[in-house]
Amino acid sequence: MKINDVILQTVTKIVVFIILTMAVYLFVSGHNSPGGGFIGGLVLASALVLLFLAFDTETIMNRIPLDFKMVAAVGAFIAVATGVVSLFFDVPFLSQAYSYFNLPVFGQTGLATVTIFELGVALAVVGVVVTIILSISEDV
């Protein structure tokens, strides 16, 4: 019998975008409300895991040709680098800068360098979660 998972795949195609939006929302709202890099990264990784479940690993890896070990490493590098950058500005390690900018669409927006640190955390989480899932599934 040929297994037909057209419903799962169709729903996945829609739901993945909702999950990704949610992940981005959680990521950027972390400064003033619950959320942040860790949880944003986990939600983003869950979207990827859903894709891996609905389609097979090879299809997804062809479309998203990323080595997730390297994604994790890039994330860790960004996180540590934001701390190290403060060494060059002659302020204590891990210092953060925060300021208001007038952006074209958003108007007056507060931007903090902690967002870059959180970006690193999010990438590291995505990389680690997907690497774990993929390396376990390889053996089966």
């Binding site: 070990k69 390297m70 490493a73 860790a76 590098f77 540590v80 680098a81 701390g83 190290v84 403060s86 060494l87 002659d90 302020v91 204590p92 390690f93 891990l94 210092s95 953060q96």
Partner: protein
Amino acid sequence: MNNILVLPVVIPVLTGIILIFFRSYIRIQRWLSLAAMLSVTGISLYILNMIQNLGVIRLDFGNWQPPFGILFVGDSFSLLLVLTTSLVAAICLIYAFYSLGQKREQMFFYPFVLLMVAGVNGSFLTGDLFNLYVCFEVMLLASYALITLGGTKPQLKESIKYVAINVLSSWFFLVAIAYLYGTVGTLNMAHLSERIAEAGQTPLLTVISILFLLVFGLKAGLLLYFWLPGSYSVPPTVVAALFGALLTKVGIYALFRMFTLLFYHEPSITHTIIGIMAGITLIGGSFGAIAYKDIRQIVSFNVVIAVGFILVGLAVATPAAIEGSIYYLIHDMLVKAALFLIAGSMVALTGTTMIDRMSGLIRHYPVLGWLFFIIMLALAGIPPLSGFMGKILIGQGAVESGAYILLALSLISSIFVLYSLLRIFLNCFWGESTTSEEDVAPLSKGWLIPCALLAVASIGLGFGAEFISPYVADAAATLTNPYIYIDAVLGK
């Protein structure tokens, strides 16, 4: 602001992450990791001298003043250990170049070593209790990966025990931190010390201190060393050397910090318990060291004896004994690394771990034999070598405070150390050589050089005791007078 204080942690972390991108370029991995460790050695030597002029220095991360932010505190004790750690790691890396094999080197061996060293250095430098926990975990996670790397059956078997016992003790650590935070409401070590002094170390705080003693006893192999000989004898030689030299020492460091900075008000309870635990550790380690014929087990039990010996200094807690413990801690890191490397080389050369199956090695490998002999004398504490200063000072402290049982146990344990190693020397290096001239496995220079460097460092530490003593005396002064540390951190 002393940003240089963070470099012993950041350089290994950053190099480790960068090396992940160069997975298949083994040559780049080797040189970058060696360069990172050597630069950390140089930097920590520089900071050590800086502390002599400026006193205890601190770095508040992100400019949050203590006790509100996390911080790194550099005193002579921390920096002496960071210096030794980096030096030992650099020398062990040279051994890894020649012994590890391509398969393991490509599986992120160097990044894991660098991250482990970063965790160890972070534990030595941090001034915050929860940060200490995090640095412990960084070190342990990397060590879990290193102990299983290669995936042979005995490695996997022992790693399950190793991981299980460390997860349990980390959980205890977390619970102890929660109790302490619930009781005094701060996590900064200097602030904790101040508040415990104000509260006068109530029975509740003493109980919490004993929970910490349990946790760090498990990590350091003080009395609770049952997991140690197994897990230290299965990984590849260079990993075992790094473990034997570095990991238990972090637990010992944490015990010293805890019981000289925070919980020093009830020595009749806490320090007596430490003394009893150290005594039993010495006895158990001595029995283990002479009971086995497996060279790796003998060497692992020597780690246990050293842990007991160093903690005798903490139990006695006179300035002389603390100074002796610091000397012995530095000496032990160097010499245990050398001992593990030589024992591993012997196993690799003869293809057996049993000492009664090796014989006459000195005929084919004279340099290795005499290096082992030097290391053996250093461990036993023969005067010109590095073990002597520590032993004499701990002995002096024990006499001053009348702890004669501990004194006797620690001196007798030295005889057991000497006997257990002399047994290896007589069985393996002396005697008729059983291998014929054609079958002799060649000993590469890359194996000898690290052992020789460590032996030279040990001899240097012995002869240069006069040169090192100002640093050690300063470290002991900070440990015995906690207010120096508190003033430097909470800076009035």
